[in-house]
Each structure stands twice: as structure tokens, then as C-alpha cells.
């Protein structure tokens, strides 16, 4: 290759796009240390003039529900992720490794259900939650999110390529199928398990529509829904919105930095055809 793209031009594009990507985040982080007056004052400086921790102090000590929202979000997303890891892996294992009647049709059914748009399910699920008494409880957020068709599929692909002789050796040692699965197979599938866990946590943590429909007590809100409370009829408390948003974004950003490779693998599952 003699003639390459002008390199400088490429870096200019990359840097501009990086700036456009980062600006809203940086703005929110810095604004969360500004006073309400400074935020709405319309200044263009990113850095706060008189940095203050008051917005955070207000959220953590004076807001009656904010701390509960953090716990709710952690609990709901964490629990859903835990169930996803176990249930998706079990289903994927059965579809890959065990032979039972109706297996093929079940597998095709799961593939077909990936296509169903969520909108159709919202109203009937609301009525089902209402009938079984789960409305306005965290179960209404956890249970429907406890499995994921794409990850069942991913686990099936993983277990199909998994060496059989390890399981056979364990079976000779007298371990039952469940023991083999939880003590030997799952620990060896660590990377796939981590990917599923993270992606499920992320999806439930960020979810807005389901909590909006199913949860009515402010005490039980998750963070994305709780943030809307700072936007009342008369005014939007931008200082609290920014601090609350930063707290909503932080756990995800930390996970992303620390466990980057699993995120990339996870989004590739969504991306593969």
C-alpha cells in the first residue's frame, strides 16, 4: 500500500468523536458539584466555580428515598443476574448435552421467541402480575428478567464444544448430573458465566419501562425511575438530577473498566447472526 489515508485527518475525526461522546458525561459529573444557581445560570465553564458536595449530601442524608433506590437497584439487578446465570446455563446445558423428547422443538421455540417485541408482553404481564399479587413488589422486576433467550443460546453453543471426558470421569466417580453441573461444568464456564451475569445486571439496572409500569410505591423505585422524582410539576432540580445520574452511571462505568473483556464478548453475542 503506497497511498494511505492522511493519518492526521483520521486522528482528528477520532478525537472529535471522543469529545462528543465524553462531553455529556463530563458535564454531568462536574455539574453534580455545582450549586443549583450555577447550573441554571447558563455558564459554559465545565469546572464548578465553588465546588460543593451539597448535592450528594442532600441525596444521601436528606432525601427520604434515594438510599433505598440504590439498594433496590443493586438488589433487583444483582438477583436477576444471579438467576440468569443459573437458569440460562442450566437450559443451555440441557439443550446441548442431554437428550430428551421435544428438545428440538423447544430449541426452535426459544429461537423464535427472540423475535417477539417486548411491547406486546407489557399489558398482559401487567395483568398477570396483578392477578398473582406481584404488582408493586421487586419480584415483578426480577422474575420476567430471570432468563434471556440469547444467553440460553450462547450457553448451548458453549456446552456443545465442551469436552465430554471431564464429565464422564466425574460420573465414574459417582457424582450425580446436578453435582457434575454445579461443581465441575459451571466453574469451567467462568468466562461465559461472567459475561451473562454482567450483561443481565446491566440490562436490569438500566431498565426504565418495567419499573414505571409495575412499581408504584416511591420507596420501592429503582434509580432510573427515582431520578424522575427530581423533575416535579414546577421545577427540575438539576443539581440533584446530575448527582443522581452520576450515581446511576458509576457502577456501570466501574464494571466496564474492570471487566472490559466480558462486555465486549457480551455485546458480540447480541451482534452475531
Amino acid at each position: 500500500m503506497k497511498k494511505k489515508w492522511p493519518r492526521v485527518f483520521l486522528y482528528v475525526i477520532l478525537i472529535i468523536y471522543a469529545a462528543i461522546t465524553l462531553y455529556p458525561f463530563l458535564w454531568a459529573v462536574f455539574a453534580s458539584f455545582k450549586t443549583y444557581a450555577e447550573i441554571v445560570g447558563g455558564g459554559l465553564t465545565l469546572l464548578p466555580q465553588n465546588p460543593t458536595l451539597n448535592n450528594y449530601i442532600h441525596l444521601f442524608t436528606r432525601d427520604e428515598n434515594f438510599v433505598a433506590w440504590i439498594w433496590n437497584s443493586l438488589y433487583v439487578a444483582g438477583f436477576a443476574a444471579f438467576l440468569n446465570v443459573i437458569f440460562n446455563s442450566m437450559a443451555g446445558y440441557a439443550l446441548a448435552r442431554l437428550s430428551f423428547p421435544g428438545k428440538k422443538s423447544l430449541f426452535l421455540l426459544i429461537l423464535a421467541l427472540i423475535m417477539v417485541p417486548g411491547q406486546i408482553l407489557l399489558i398482559p404481564n401487567f395483568l398477570i402480575m396483578r392477578n398473582i399479587g406481584l404488582l408493586d413488589t421487586h419480584w415483578s422486576l426480577i422474575l420476567p428478567s430471570a432468563i434471556n433467550f440469547a444467553f440460553i443460546f450462547m450457553m448451548r453453543q458453549f456446552f456443545i464444544n465442551f469436552p465430554k471426558d471431564i464429565e464422564e470421569a466425574a460420573a465414574i466417580d459417582g457424582l450425580s448430573r446436578f453435582q457434575i453441573f454445579f461443581r465441575i461444568v459451571i466453574p469451567m464456564a467462568r468466562a461465559s458465566v461472567a459475561t451473562q451475569g454482567i450483561m443481565s445486571f446491566l440490562a436490569v439496572w438500566n431498565e426504565f419501562m418495567r419499573p414505571l409500569l409495575y412499581i408504584s410505591s416511591p420507596r420501592l423505585f429503582t434509580l432510573p425511575l427515582g431520578l424522575q422524582m427530581f423533575n416535579d410539576l414546577y421545577t427540575t432540580h438539576w443539581n440533584l438530577v446530575m448527582a443522581g445520574s452520576v450515581i446511576t452511571l458509576i457502577p456501570i462505568l466501574l464494571l466496564y473498566i474492570v471487566l472490559n473483556k466480558y462486555f465486549m464478548q457480551g455485546f458480540r453475542v447480541g451482534g452475531d447472526k
Binding site: 459554559l44 431520578l227 424522575q228 452511571l249
Partner: protein, 295 residues
């Protein structure tokens, strides 16, 4: 017990948690949604009155549905091509052997991970009358006076469009990047020998080789944009305002199901129609893309 029977029982015991959840929260609801769409629901009295195709007939003459459809289609017609194009360009730039590729990719990806609720709130202030976007535009002399992007009928939907392109393009960029890595490198080398420039290589090799990826990206884009809800809900406080400017089909379904009394059956009919619409549009997009790839 026979080994076959035992394995069958094991198979179902491994499947049972997933099967219960699929049955209760997916299979039953699909049937339930279809049933609801033929009824008039009175939640307080607990009655479901059969109205046949009544709800569907109403839908075809509902002026608000027409507005919601127009907004949703306008939204999709801008967002899907814009985010696909941006994703392809950024993936190509990242894939051209630049330094710090990983760092840039890690940064670009941030918006895709983060909560749409938090991001919409942040954008609402960035685009507010006294927010920094207006501040810069006025200071640089591009605007005489600040525009109320969030509450002006002419700008509210566009603000959501810009935000959505910003937040979903990186996901498709990653998918394109994976696709680019599969393109046969020798094609580029052969083209270079024939004296093709970068633009020629992009249009004659990169784009044709990425057609299956583009198919997938367009499909996901259409499915996503047609279901747009969170941003429209948050920016308008659930009303679809100002003056129905941010009223999307999903938001309309929400309003009829949970804000207006007695129209849950009608909302179900709209949800079914939306699903059919998404399916049809996706199929058309797939077909068009295939025909184009023949060239």
C-alpha cells in the same frame, strides 16, 4: 430405570426454571395480548367484554395514532440511516490501523452502556434554554437567541433523535468492527495493486462485503426505533407533548393502557399492530438490502 428415561427426566429438570418463566411471562402473555385486543377491559369491575375487531376498527380512524405513527416513522427514517452510517464510518476509521484503537473504542462505547433515563435527563439540560448547547451556539454567533429544544414543537423530537443516534451508534460500530475483521485482506492488497484509492476501496470492497452486517444493523435499528419509549416519556413527562410532538406509538400504547381508563383492550390492539408493522418493515428492509447487494 432405563438410562434414556433418566436422561429425559434430567433434561426436563434442567429446563424447568426456564420453561416456567417462558410459559408464564412470554407464551401465556402472547395469547393473552391477542385475546385482550378483541375485548373492552374494565379493570375495576374485572370484566372483559368481547368486541370482535372493534378495537382494530377504531385504530384506523384514531387521529392521535396517526400523529404517533408519523412521529415514529419520522424518527426511524432519520435515526436508522444516521446511526448506521455513523457506525460504519467510525468502525472503518478505527479499523484503519490507527494507534490507541482500543482506547478510542472503549470511550466510544460508553453511551451504549448507560441508563437511558439518566442520559435523557442529562440531555434535557444540555439542550435546555440555559444549557450549554444553546450557550455555545449563541456565543459562536450561530444562533441569535437560544432555542427551547426540549419544549418547542419543532425541536423536541429532533432532540431525541440526536440523542439516540449518539447513544446507539457505538453498539452498531462494534458490530461493524467485528464484521470488518472478517473481510478478506487480500482483496484490499489486490485493489491497491490496481491503483484503487481509499474511497474506491471503501465503496467497492468494504461496503459490499459488509452487506450481511448492514442487514443485521438495519434490522436491529428498525426494531429499536419503532419501539422508542423511554426518551419520549421522560422528555415529555409521559404526555407526548409539546402538542403531541414526542408522541410515539409506544407512548400512545402506554397512555391508553395505564393512563386512560377502560382502553386497555384498545392499547393491546395497538401493541399487536405495532408488532406486525415492525415485522413487515423489517422484512421489506431485508428484501431491499438484498436487491442492492446484487450490484
Amino acid at each position: 430405570m432405563k438410562a434414556r428415561t433418566r436422561e429425559g427426566i434430567q433434561g426436563y429438570s434442567f429446563m424447568i426454571p426456564a420453561l416456567i418463566i417462558i410459559a408464564v411471562f412470554t407464551i401465556v402473555p402472547i395469547g393473552y395480548a391477542i385475546y385482550l385486543s378483541f375485548t373492552r377491559v374494565n379493570l375495576l369491575a374485572g370484566t372483559f367484554e368481547w368486541v370482535g375487531f372493534g378495537n382494530y376498527e377504531i385504530a384506523f380512524s384514531d387521529p392521535r395514532l396517526r400523529i404517533a405513527l408519523r412521529n415514529t416513522v419520522r424518527y426511524a427514517v432519520f435515526v436508522v440511516p444516521a446511526q448506521t452510517f455513523l457506525a460504519l464510518v467510525m468502525a472503518t476509521v478505527l479499523n484503519s490501523g490507527v494507534k490507541f484503537e482500543r482506547t478510542f473504542r472503549t470511550i466510544f462505547f460508553l453511551p451504549t452502556l448507560t441508563s437511558s433515563a439518566a442520559l435523557t435527563m442529562i440531555f434535557m439540560f444540555l439542550f435546555a434554554v440555559n444549557g450549554p448547547v444553546n450557550g455555545f451556539l449563541v456565543e459562536w454567533g450561530l444562533l441569535a437567541a437560544p432555542i427551547n429544544f426540549v419544549e418547542d414543537v419543532n425541536f423536541a423530537l429532533n432532540t431525541i433523535m440526536v440523542m439516540n443516534v449518539w447513544s446507539t451508534a457505538p453498539l452498531f460500530m462494534t458490530i461493524y468492527l467485528a464484521g470488518l475483521q472478517d473481510v478478506d485482506k487480500t482483496l484490499y492488497e489486490a485493489a491497491a495493486i490496481d491503483g484503487a484509492n481509499a474511497w474506491k476501496k471503501f465503496t467497492k470492497i468494504t461496503i459490499p462485503n459488509l452487506v450481511p452486517v448492514t442487514n443485521y444493523v438495519l434490522l436491529m435499528g428498525i426494531i429499536g426505533t419503532f419501539q422508542i419509549f423511554d426518551q419520549a416519556f421522560i422528555i415529555s413527562g409521559g404526555s407526548g407533548g409539546p402538542m403531541n410532538a414526542t408522541l410515539t406509538v409506544s407512548l400512545l400504547i402506554y397512555q391508553f393502557a395505564f393512563q386512560v381508563r377502560g382502553t386497555m383492550g384498545y392499547a393491546s390492539a395497538l401493541a399487536i399492530l405495532l408488532a406486525i408493522l415492525i415485522f413487515v418493515v423489517s422484512m421489506i428492509a431485508k428484501r431491499l438490502n438484498k436487491e442492492e447487494s446484487l450490484y
